[in-house]
Symmetry: C2
Subunit: 238 residues, 2 copies
Amino acid sequence: MPAGITEQMASALARDRSGLVHASTADRVTELLRTHIMEGLFPPGTRLSEEVIGQALGVSRNTLREAFRLLCHERLAVHQMNRGIFVPVLSRADVTDIYALRRLVEGGAARMAGSAAMTARLAVRAAVDAAETAAAAGRWFEVRTADLLFHQAVAALAGSPRVDELMRRALAELRLIFHAMADPEQFHAPYVARNRVIAESIMLGDGEAAEKELLAYLADAERQLLAVYQVPAPDSGP
Amino acid sequence: MPAGITEQMASALARDRSGLVHASTADRVTELLRTHIMEGLFPPGTRLSEEVIGQALGVSRNTLREAFRLLCHERLAVHQMNRGIFVPVLSRADVTDIYALRRLVEGGAARMAGSAAMTARLAVRAAVDAAETAAAAGRWFEVRTADLLFHQAVAALAGSPRVDELMRRALAELRLIFHAMADPEQFHAPYVARNRVIAESIMLGDGEAAEKELLAYLADAERQLLAVYQVPAPDSGP
DNA sequence: ACCGTACATCTTGTTCAACAATCCTTCAAT
DNA sequence: ATTGAAGGATTGTTGAACAAGATGTACGGT
């Protein structure tokens, strides 16, 4: 008879682990605030009062402060000593910096298309499919989500969990900027077709071409973003 | 007579601002624990008891927990629900992943050597100088520090604050692995000369050559590290 | 010996209340 | 208009308290 739990059985169980890991209150609060900030519920510059939010969510100030710390650490909030937590107001320099990071990471990942896992490449194409479907139906906020997912998938070609997480954070920051813009159609519509081209290069394993097209994409997107993005408030008030 | 504070005067003062910004207790505790973990004071797998550390540092549990959260977020500690905070035991997969990230980021940054700021390039060379001086004197731990600083400087060629921070975190994690190794001389000695070669390519603005040499460097270092690095404790069980 | 249970114990997760330090607002005075 | 001083509000930090989960140990059954 079988001796015991095999390596295979154990790893099958390990995949379920994330489903039953009960997160702490602080983690759940962090997750909740993270999505709310990313979705644009709180406009940039808003102060996140400990008392108000703590009372609204029914958690203590201490627990809330743990959540705030984490959000600050991933730049989805900024901490001013003795003044509180604020939704960040990203500067034009931040836009430039985020795109520099994206060029480095996404460009480098795209270049590895030839040696990337097939599942990773298929994920890239799947993201483009979703974007096209949403665009055809005129659901432009969905197009935005699919677009971000596309770039996440491109970064995932590197096959590195740390790169994935890095990219997730960078794109979350980028969402803050997108919310300060007009309508998503004007900005995202032209890029769906370009994503398709990039995806096909990746599917073919032509990393050089994919990187080249991607870098051009990012350069154009950055330019377009900077053209319309004006920082809401300078820095120090009136 | 002069009308008032000019733009220039104000920016001069703004540079001093960082000198008088008083960090919170939680921030100071974080910084302290961060360096201690990086320096290897707590061996991997150590549990960081809230009570013991809180009492030792003279801070309350709540404040300490804020610090722990931050450390977990930058992977210098791991949190197990209802069990506490532990110094991470990095796996061989972690080593591979960190080097994948380094290849992507440092390689991409090195490729930009031609268009990087001159001060950034000089910083690269300065780090190599420091490493050579320390190596000649036989101060191998100083060589290690200089080596890490060298790679930090290479990443800084990208001219992106976010890339700088990303690299700082990755190299901090790497320090955890280095501490599990034998003596630093054997590992770091051969790389000082290679750093010099890379630095000279960067000074000349030859990004292609710098990237190529750097990638070879990183591949060798990863291989050498994996050859001797055995995970201290499997994962579960005595 | 092996397994499961029950219990005692320890540590963490979370809340609450309190106080000091700091910032913001208001208002008066020059 | 600028400065100074009081007052209120918010954050920074602490200490104590309790619930919930994890660990360790002893006991009984097989």
